[in-house]
């Protein structure tokens, strides 16, 4: 027993982490990613191989984001779920999760339950988190409630009984996970399953009429006029390298996208969109050094670049882009960073294989882009996914050249990383609007590259309303 315990502790010395970012929580996501990299904890692409489910951002107080519970149900034991609301809490929250994992591998610890149980503050106190009192940080996050009783355990209990032996006992969790590509907006199949989750046995699996109560593919004509199976597949909001909060409702035939529709999760955020911050602040009359804006633009593009390359399956430069992104956001000295950014940009631009593999995907002529309200790199490129990548690389090089520029940013400079910030709608609105049109007819992998090449930032979506409210 002692040996087993020790083995388990050794095995969990670096737990596998699935990171799910909610819209509006970009700084938290960045801090978590940097922290995970420092610790060398492996990242998990799906709940199946994760020990720790980390939610970046604030959960909906009325529990609208039940897709998160679907993912949580998919995490096998040992499992801890926690939410991180503030960038500064990342390290402490990970420590807490790690401690729980190592102490008690037999229980599923949910530190970020759907609806915070009453008496939450005292629970936080019991866990010995000193700063867990009232105030700005109304806490359900980092220090969280180590819930060792009550309804949360019931939830875990489902998994205990039916979960790992045959999986049929799980209510909405597995349904949600498998139907949706890790997460569903809540109203869909995942939830519908919940009602009769425990009811079906494995014997029903092969019956033609909806195995286990799941909907089957229907049929429709494909692009060649043949009647083929058609599958409705929601993508997001918790895929790896996916814009936080985006849900894509795809109609697939084989792996060809017939139709696509976008949905977005509501953005809960009190501040400016992270990537647009310097320009919005300058517009309000604050003095913002150009170097800061350049660093932010650089980091924004490196973030997008990292996603694009990861989706394109080129891990090495993707990892480099992320490391440099965090360097650009921290106080890393400019000279060394500039060199690294320029050499990364050159390496990516020189790759013929990348060009051959991504050229022609999601063409967006400049005129069409303008008509849809797209400004920024996607408009400048006026071409396919690869052209948009080249514009990023180009702007990266230019932004890196301004790392030492301490002059203040002009008040009327509103060219944020994704486009003009004084338009009627935020730049990402336009990107989301053109997305469905670019996706129809694309293969699944191509569709993911198109999404990554536009990389809409959902944090921006409420910016327009906010500006009106503030009278800017």
């Amino acid at each position: 027993m002692d040996l087993r315990d020790r083995l388990r502790r050794a095995a969990l010395s670096r737990p596998g982490v699935m990171l799910v970012a909610l819209p509006g929580a970009t700084p938290v996501r960045l801090e978590l990613e940097a922290e995970l990299r420092r610790r060398g904890w492996p990242r998990s692409e799906s709940p199946a191989a994760a020990d720790l489910l980390v939610v970046a951002g604030e959960r909906d107080p009325i529990g609208e984001d039940s897709w998160l519970d679907g993912i949580w149900e998919g995490v096998p034991k040992p499992a801890v779920r926690l939410a991180v609301r503030h960038p500064g809490d990342a390290a402490a929250a990970l420590d807490t999760g790690h401690r729980l994992l190592r102490e008690d591998a037999g229980t599923r610890h949910d530190l970020a339950p759907a609806v915070p149980p009453s008496g939450g503050e005292s629970a936080a106190g019991r866990n010995g988190r000193p700063g867990g009192g009232r105030g700005e940080r109304t806490d359900d996050g980092a220090g969280g409630h180590h819930d060792d009783g009550g309804d949360q355990d019931d939830r875990g209990g489902h998994n205990d009984h039916g979960g790992h032996s045959d999986g049929q006992g799980d209510p909405d969790g597995q349904g949600g996970g498998q139907e949706s590509g890790h997460g569903d907006s809540g109203g869909g199949d995942g939830d519908g399953d919940g009602g009769h989750g425990g009811g079906h046995s494995s014997h029903e699996t092969h019956e033609m009429s909806g195995p286990a109560g799941l909907p089957m593919a229907e049929r429709a004509e494909d692009r060649d006029g043949l009647t083929l199976d058609r599958l409705h597949l929601p993508l997001g909001p918790a895929l790896p390298d996916w814009p936080a909060g985006l849900i894509l409702r795809l109609v697939l035939q084989g792996d060809v996208v017939q139709r696509a529709g976008t949905e977005t999760l509501p953005v809960r955020r009190r501040k400016d969109p992270f990537w647009d911050e310097p320009w919005l602040r300058a517009a309000r009359g604050e003095t913002v050094p150009r170097a800061e804006a350049a660093r932010r633009r650089c980091a924004a593009h490196l973030d997008s670049l990292g996603r694009f390359l990861a989706v394109a399956g080129w891990d090495d430069p993707a990892a480099r882009a992320r490391r440099l992104r965090d360097g650009a956001l921290s106080a890393e000295p400019g000279d060394r960073l500039r060199e690294d950014v320029v050499s990364l940009a050159r390496r990516v631009a020189r790759s013929r294989a990348l060009r051959l593999l991504t050229a022609g995907l999601g063409p967006l002529p400049a005129a069409e882009a303008r008509a849809a309200g797209v400004s920024g790199p996607a408009h400048t490129a006026g071409g396919d996914a690869y052209d948009r990548l080249l514009v990023w690389l180009d702007e990266l090089g230019r932004a890196a050249g301004q790392f030492g520029d301490e002059r203040p940013l002009a008040r009327d400079d509103r060219t944020g990383p994704r486009g003009t910030l004084d338009g009627a709608a935020p730049p990402s609105r336009g990107l989301l609007d053109v997305l469905p049109g670019l996706l129809s007819g694309a293969e699944f992998a191509g569709a993911r590259i198109v999404v990554a090449s536009l990389d809409p930032d959902l944090d921006e979506l409420t910016a327009a309303d906010r500006r009106e409210a503030a009278g800017v």
Binding site: R37, P42, S46, P76, D166, G177
Partner: protein, 314 residues
């Protein structure tokens, strides 16, 4: 020249292959970590990075198995178990120096047949969990198979043609003077490509792609995941190792004993493959298939023709 190894070698083979796979995965992890976290500061740091796959294996071992709604558990288990089995069975005809566990008259065909079992393995693993992304991954490997297998078979046929035998030992014996890689470079290059493709790894790793949240392995956790990923590294080692008897002269070489030459050459091939992974993005089959069929197939056919002419005039 070649002979069959003693019986205990058959028992040792899986463990030897696993150890090689672990070492290769460790080197791969060290390379990836350098990109992710910058160059290692100390030897200790480097060791810790290289040990990441072992830590990961231990982590997966203590994880509870899980499954999905309406999953076909039997299919999934069959698929997962089939992969390392296929790798080890293919490894049975790999000579270490000049001795292999078995050296049948149709060794090359045997290798090819075992390697194709991986198609079934990945597809079953993708199909089993009843999950769309996982199924996508499974089908991706079938498409990949259609693209790489034709040039691959022509490439290994060319080596057999050069030796006028399908026996692996005979192919090695024929390279005492001149390595096949030197006078059939196109076949060798195509073989290296397909070695990566058959192990669905690196640039050909799309079936387990990140864009599909892990593809065929998306719903795999715990020991099942370990078996599949371990099987994949083993298959990669075997595929790379088979390039040595086919094209790089097997155990032939000056001074050093044959088994050491085999190991060194295998390590060199694996190093090249790791460099290829670092240099290339994921190859998507909707783009690659055209290249494979219009460029690689004619190329390997011409190579086979050239070799056939040489052999006839011997």
């Amino acid at each position: 020249m070649s002979e069959t190894a003693p019986l205990w070698a058959a028992a040792v083979l899986p463990f030897a292959l696993l150890a090689l796979a672990a070492v290769t995965a460790g080197c791969g992890a060290a390379v990836s970590a350098a990109a992710e976290r910058g160059p290692a500061g100390s030897a200790r740091e480097l060791t810790s990075r290289a040990a990441a796959p072992l830590r990961e294996a231990l982590r997966l071992l203590v994880q509870q198995p899980r499954t999905t709604t309406a999953a076909d558990g039997a299919l999934r288990r069959a698929g997962v178990a089939l992969l390392p089995t296929a790798a080890v069975l293919a490894g049975a005809v790999l000579p270490l120096g000049f001795r292999s566990v078995t050296d049948p008259g149709v060794g090359i065909v045997w290798f090819n047949a075992m390697e194709v079992l991986a198609w079934a393995a990945v597809w079953l693993t993708g199909w089993g969990p009843n999950s769309a992304l996982s199924l996508t991954g499974g089908y991706r490997f079938l498409a990949q198979g259609l693209a790489y297998e034709l040039p691959h078979m022509l490439a290994i046929t060319t080596a057999a043609l050069g030796a006028e035998s399908l026996r692996v030992g005979e192919v090695v014996a024929r390279q005492e003077g001149l390595w096949f890689a030197l006078w059939m470079p196109a076949a060798f290059a195509v073989y290296l490509l397909s070695a990566v493709a058959m192990a669905f790894w690196g640039p050909f790793g799309h079936p387990l792609g990140r864009d599909a949240a892990g593809g065929a392995a998306a719903e795999l956790g715990g020991p099942a995941r370990l078996v599949l990923l371990g099987g994949r590294w083993t298959l990669l080692v075997v595929a790379a190792g088979f390039a040595v008897p086919l094209f790089l002269g097997g155990g032939h070489g000056p001074l050093l004993p044959g088994w050491l030459w085999t190991l060194l050459k295998t390590a060199a091939v694996l190093a090249v493959l790791l460099a290829v992974r670092r240099a290339l993005p994921a190859v998507r089959m909707e783009r690659y298939t055209e290249f494979a069929w219009t460029v690689l197939v004619p190329l390997t056919l011409l190579q086979a023709l050239a070799v056939a002419v040489v052999v006839l005039n011997r």
